[in-house]
Symmetry: C2
Subunit: 542 residues, 2 copies
């Protein structure tokens, strides 16, 4: 626990000098004007209005007047540039300096004439001590003690080094000695979930203090605004942003053009199953199951290399750890010169850049997630490992699995293969090339040398498929031939086939599920952990 070094005179003077004409004081004066407007707040169960800055009993003058209280609702009354310090920046280098911080009241614990407050901002926390003494009245202490957790506060305090690290805070070297304490936005006093509970490590042993309470997934998702405040979630969605950013950077270096493809489409893009219907004025339409047709049209329209990041919809009644009805697709498609391996290698190298970028630039975030959800570090090879389907079949057979030459792999088989590959090659990422033609969509280019194989590949992370791709048939005649072989009505794919009638370069591509990449990179167990507002057959809220 931190120790209060006593009021620092220089620090206090600093406060006066820096903040006497600050928004805080002006705002405090606004309080009275705004008192009537604020009356409705009482019903929320926050601090009693009589305890505001203008409060305190009349017979007991408050030495802390204008040092604390509830600020009026911010309606942009005052325009001012203030020096606000980030919690993550508060360390020993700021010793004895006075700082102004806006943060959440994470926890508070009164102990006699003191109150230990933990302030939280994103993934950072710092302890603040409010101790009755020069400048800090009993009324102020009581006010602070009564502010509900999760309220947003503006505090002014002096940075004090502590002799023993405060293990419970990220800013462990210092604490703040409180000088001012203003409530910016009150939280309701009863929270549907506690941030600490929602951050608790799954494998923690029971401990007496917190009864080892954890928060189940539905409670989290029903109260997503609170759940997303955990350091773990703050980290996860920054890593997810990183995946997109690194994906774009890798492709833009290679002159890919970003495009946007329509989600409302006239016909089911990948066959009739699993598609959502939309009522469209007097008719109806569908939600795109992938941007593939449009990516390919962009190639036929001379954009050469394209990518698109956008929502993808699957009306699949799959209630599993890895299916969503709406997810973010990272899709790319490119013309190639002689061989589809140009495409496959581009995608492989893109993954390598993503993995390397995450490792090098998101180490802190990955560590934060690992504290709650421990996982082995993600391993990868550069260039990535490429196996051919028959090699996988052989590895599986050697491991006792009855895998057919032209049979698609089941999910458990894929996972087993992932373990075998990891054991043999020490990589969590690999490419499986040359899938059997029979298990791929009609538009997949057949292998020129082996009538049972195709120019197609899947890519895997920790044994789960995260990309499916191929060379596409760019010749309308062969495309019709293959569609007919698959029993597809040519009339229904006329628009698609016609895209290739006016010359189209050989091309290929693939589609990646963003949430799956983030989930598997971090070794998480459920895709709902990497979708900010997940959609599945049973959930479309919030």
């Amino acid at each position: 626990m931190g120790v209060q070094d006593g009021e620092n005179a220089a620090g206090a003077a600093d406060v006066e000098g820096k903040h006497s004409k600050s928004a805080l004081k002006k705002a405090a004066k606004e309080l009275e004007k705004a008192a009537k407007k604020q009356a409705y707040k009482a019903e929320k169960g926050g601090p009693e209005p009589s305890e505001g800055a203008a409060g305190g009993r009349v017979d007991e003058p408050d030495i802390s007047e204008f040092r604390y209280g509830e600020l009026p609702l911010n309606q942009s009354q005052i325009k001012e540039t203030r020096t606000v310090t980030r919690v993550e920046a508060v360390n020993k280098s700021l010793a004895n300096k006075t700082v102004l911080i806006r943060a959440r009241l994470h926890t508070s614990r009164a102990k006699g004439k003191q109150c230990f407050v933990v302030l939280r901002q994103g993934r950072s926390t710092i302890q603040m001590l409010v101790a009755v003494g020069p400048g800090i009245s009993k009324q102020m202490l009581k006010f602070v003690t009564n502010v509900p957790k999760e309220s947003i506060v503006d505090v002014v305090g002096v940075v004090q080094p502590v002799p023993k690290p405060i293990e419970s805070c990220t800013q462990s070297e210092v604490e703040l000695s409180c000088h001012e304490f203003w409530v910016v936005s009150l939280s309701a006093p009863k929270l549907p979930l506690q941030i600490d509970d929602a951050t608790r490590r799954v494998t923690d042993d029971a401990d007496e203090d917190n009864l080892n309470i954890r928060v189940n997934q539905d409670t989290r998702l029903d109260n997503r605004v609170l759940d997303l405040r955990t350091p773990t979630n703050q980290a996860i969605y920054r890593i997810e942003m990183g995946v997109c950013k690194l994906f774009r950077a890798a492709l833009e270096k290679k002159s890919f053009v970003e495009i946007h493809t329509p989600k409302i489409i006239p016909a089911a893009s990948e066959g009739g199953a699993n598609v959502f219907t939309v009522s469209y004025f007097k008719g109806s339409a569908f939600l795109a199951q992938s941007p593939q047709l449009y990516k390919q049209m962009a190639i036929a329209a001379d954009f050469e290399k394209v990518y698109t990041i956008g929502s993808v919809f699957r009306a699949e009644d799959s209630n599993t750890h890895r299916h969503l009805t709406e997810f973010i697709g990272l899709d790319l498609e490119m013309a190639f010169d002689t061989h589809y391996h140009e495409v496959m290698d581009t995608i492989g190298a893109t993954f390598t850049e993503i993995f390397r970028g995450l490792r090098d630039h998101y180490a802190d975030e990955i560590k934060t997630v690992g504290k709650q959800y421990p996982a082995d570090e993600f391993t990868f090879l550069d260039p990535p490992l490429r196996l051919e389907f028959p090699q996988a079949v052989q590895m599986l057979r050697e491991a006792g699995v009855d895998q057919g030459d032209e049979e698609d792999m089941s999910t458990p088989t894929e996972k087993l293969l992932g373990r075998l590959v990891k054991a043999k090659y020490d990589t969590d990422f690999y490419i499986l090339d040359k899938f059997p033609l029979a298990v791929r969509p009609f538009y997949t280019m057949p292998d020129p040398n082996n009538p049972k194989a195709s120019n197609s590949y899947d890519m895997f992370m920790r044994g789960e498929e995260i990309l499916s791709g191929a060379q596409r048939i760019h010749d309308p005649t062969l495309l019709c031939e293959r569609a007919t072989h698959h029993g597809i009505d040519l009339e229904k794919i006329k628009g698609y086939v016609d895209s290739f009638r006016y010359g189209c370069p050989p091309h290929g591509g693939g589609g990646i599920g963003l949430e799956r990449v983030t989930m598997l990179y971090l070794g998480l167990d459920n895709i709902r952990k990497t979708s900010m507002f997940p959609r599945d057959p049973k959930r479309i809220t919030p």
Copy 2:
């Protein structure tokens, strides 16, 4: 017109040296093997099979054998790294060098024993001369002449400077002397639209040669794969990508976090009107009209500054030049410290960075678009001009418009105001702040000093609104009060209101329509020109 300087011996030797073992030759050998497979191509009306590399009359040996023909369908038969030159890179510096190019056959014109071919690659074109002479047979000339426009070809040729610039090509200093000519992908001989017609400047006077043919919008959109190949469209969608890229760069510098928000939502996000219904398993759902609720939830969830780029859906039966039923929203939302102008200024500065970035890095593309659709250069001020609503009302009244103090502006009034602002301040972009409270949504923060005003703003480009934004009400009680005032059923917005019950920082934001920004920056007249696959009440194809 370019002049053929005659066969260059050094160049020819170069060809042998560089390409004798090339994919082209190997591929040519594959031709025979593939002959049977290719039989189906005859029906497409391309060059007659007898004219392939193996063709020519038996009694007349073809000196160009293995120099031309139709390549077998690329199924990735051969894996090879070839040196392919971009058309845009072919200029005098490559004089007398032999290059290999993959491009479209844009046009071809036979003239006696010569054929002038124009090759097109993206926005670049180059002339190639095929002249009967050493190495080039009559059969080869005939073959080249018969290849349909828009076919994709691999050509090998020697770069020859020309004495007089070839005005009709982007590469005007040089032409290619053809050595090899291989068809990679044949186009159907009849095109539903001609690329040259689709590229013709709107204001061009009639000229005898081309009868001043232009292509109407429906024909373009019905054949979008062809239409998108025009240099104008190649440029437009690169500029549109630039808008996204510059938007992201500006915000990422300021620590914004990219998020993704669901498109399938349980209730209409902005009131019940104009929303598409989706059948969702046994129930139904809606398509999001904006990501606003989710952006605000991300702010309440401590992400501080967020942006999202994604599809937005409006079931509005508006058949105008600027409405789409599906478009790309560039949305942002941020917590601020004291005043919503922090948000407004951030958005304004983001626009400035976009405009400056387009001007500085997309000058070529802008010039290309301007050739077909001339427009005045887009002007802007840094920092942007900010007017308040009452100032606009006064300017309009001085111009004779009967504009009410609390009345929203009509589209024609907005356009007039744009012209007045341009005349007075010389800017095509400005911010209009402090809209009347009465014309804004219920969640808009009222002005603290003027009960009839609000903390909200619109932003305009060339007199058309491209962003609407505001400080949002972050207090649940005031939010309910305002919703009730607007006659909104509180039960229906419960989820939204509840997001603010556990403390929320003051915040604001706005949403931008990507297609509108691109359209207005370029001074185009229809939003269908800046949506790759536009959706409106009457069109959901292709």
